[in-house]
């Protein structure tokens, strides 16, 4: 067995970047790091070389709980029929201002 197979792989982190004040952090990708501080520095070096951000989050990938594709129907289709939640559902006269 080679040395590398015994080498413990560094955990994966997901990287989120806030591109400027006033907008949300957005997922940018992932990377490996031994610890969270290293993940933050790696994220800074790898994902913000071109002024992409003013704030960074790193989250261990293992901590993400995701909905599964099999549940896509049950999760998301019920809202498709609730068209009354959208403003375009309502007919209002064109000539009323401030609406």
């Amino acid at each position: 067995m080679s040395q590398d197979q015994t080498e413990q792989e560094w955990p994966l982190f997901e990287v989120f970047i806030r591109s400027k004040q006033g907008v949300s952090h957005v997922h940018a990708g992932s990377l490996h790091a031994a610890d969270a501080r290293m993940a933050l520095e790696n994220a800074r070096d790898v994902y913000t070389r071109r002024n992409e951000g003013c704030s960074l989050w790193v989250v261990p990938s293992a901590a993400v709980t995701a909905s599964s594709p099999e549940e896509k129907g049950a999760f998301f289709e019920p809202s498709e029929s609730k068209i009354y939640r959208h403003p375009t559902f309502y007919d209002v006269p064109d000539d009323v201002e401030c609406l």
Partner: protein, 314 residues
């Protein structure tokens, strides 16, 4: 395999639907993508070496900074691609091992040497030019994480080819020694660059399925032609001569036709007989081996810290 599932997948993809990591996908699709994305990542990583060879000797502060930034981008792009491949269930460690053991391939163009400064510059112009031709259609690849990584890569690489052309221009318009250096680099890199698109279509085993799955959008020959048409005009603007006595414009098609590509040489380099295959692999393995104690130490430190915080919490 469930044939209905496969049928649904094929029609979803045929209708330009995107595939995300946890979606069901045929095993072949997964394996094709793992192979292609990891090879692409390995190419970025090995590709750091021929240009990196001139970082310490770049002839001006400006050129040094440009080259450092560019080689750095290659490392970054390798990382984006490795993480895209990881979403398919292969680990970074497995991919590293595949590269280091020689099992995985990388673009064979990086097995050529950068003998002069002009070679490092010509890589930017020709190899990055070829790579961009290849990569732009990949931004629309059916597999979401790969397509997104490619969007990022293409956006960042926009400067690579331009700086390469600008650097060639400085040489081609410079002293006679510089011009000779530039011509020498073009002579060395022209044929490998056009071979970089891979074997001709009738000799490309994986292409048809990849096209159907929208992993690939254009055939090797189509992409090669697109690149040749651009590069010929750029070479003319530089006042350099493309090392191909048979090169001519086909008046009917409007495309430039080259002489025959030496596919024996291409396959020899793919199979390890290029001028630098061994050097590139030795370099990569040395970096990996010499870094082992660092990676272990960081992990040991992280484990100790975690134990400490667990103890404190208990």
């Amino acid at each position: 395999m469930d044939s209905k599932q496969l049928e649904a997948f094929d029609s979803h993809v045929a209708g330009e639907g995107k595939v995300e990591p946890k979606d069901w996908m045929p095993d072949n699709y997964r394996q094709t993508l793992i192979r292609q994305i990891s090879q692409h990542a390995h190419s970025e990583i090995i590709g750091m070496q021929p240009e990196g060879n001139w970082i310490s000797r770049a002839p001006s502060l400006r050129r040094k900074m440009i080259l450092l930034a560019k080689v750095q981008d290659e490392a970054g792009h390798g990382l984006y691609l490795y993480s895209a491949a990881e979403t398919l269930g292969v680990s970074r460690g497995e991919m590293d091992q595949a590269l280091l053991s020689g099992k995985a391939k990388y673009s064979s163009i990086f097995n050529y040497p950068t003998l002069t400064w002009a070679d490092a510059v010509a890589i930017g112009w020709l190899v990055d030019g070829a790579a961009i031709t290849n990569q732009i259609p990949l931004c629309r690849c059916s597999y979401g994480p790969y397509a997104r990584a490619m969007v990022r890569v293409c956006k960042e690489e926009a400067f690579h080819q331009r700086q390469g052309f600008e650097g060639m221009m400085a040489l081609a318009k410079g002293t006679s020694e510089q011009k000779a250096m530039a011509q020498g680099a073009l002579d060395r890199w022209w044929w490998p660059s056009i071979a970089m698109f891979g074997p001709p279509d009738d000799d490309s085993p994986h292409s048809a399925q990849s096209m159907a799955w929208k992993i690939k959008r254009f055939s090797n020959d189509e992409l090669r032609q697109k690149f040749i048409d651009m590069a010929v005009i750029q070479a003319q603007a530089l006042g350099l001569e493309i090392p191909d006595p048979d090169l001519k414009l086909n008046e009917e098609t409007g495309h430039w036709q080259t002489g025959p590509i030496d596919w024996d040489e291409f396959w020899a380099v793919v199979k390890g007989k290029g001028p630098c295959n061994r050097q590139r692999m030795t370099h990569r393995r040395k970096a990996h081996d010499e870094g082992a104690w660092v990676r272990e130490a960081a992990m040991a430190f992280a484990n100790k810290q975690q134990q400490k915080s667990e103890k404190a919490a208990a």
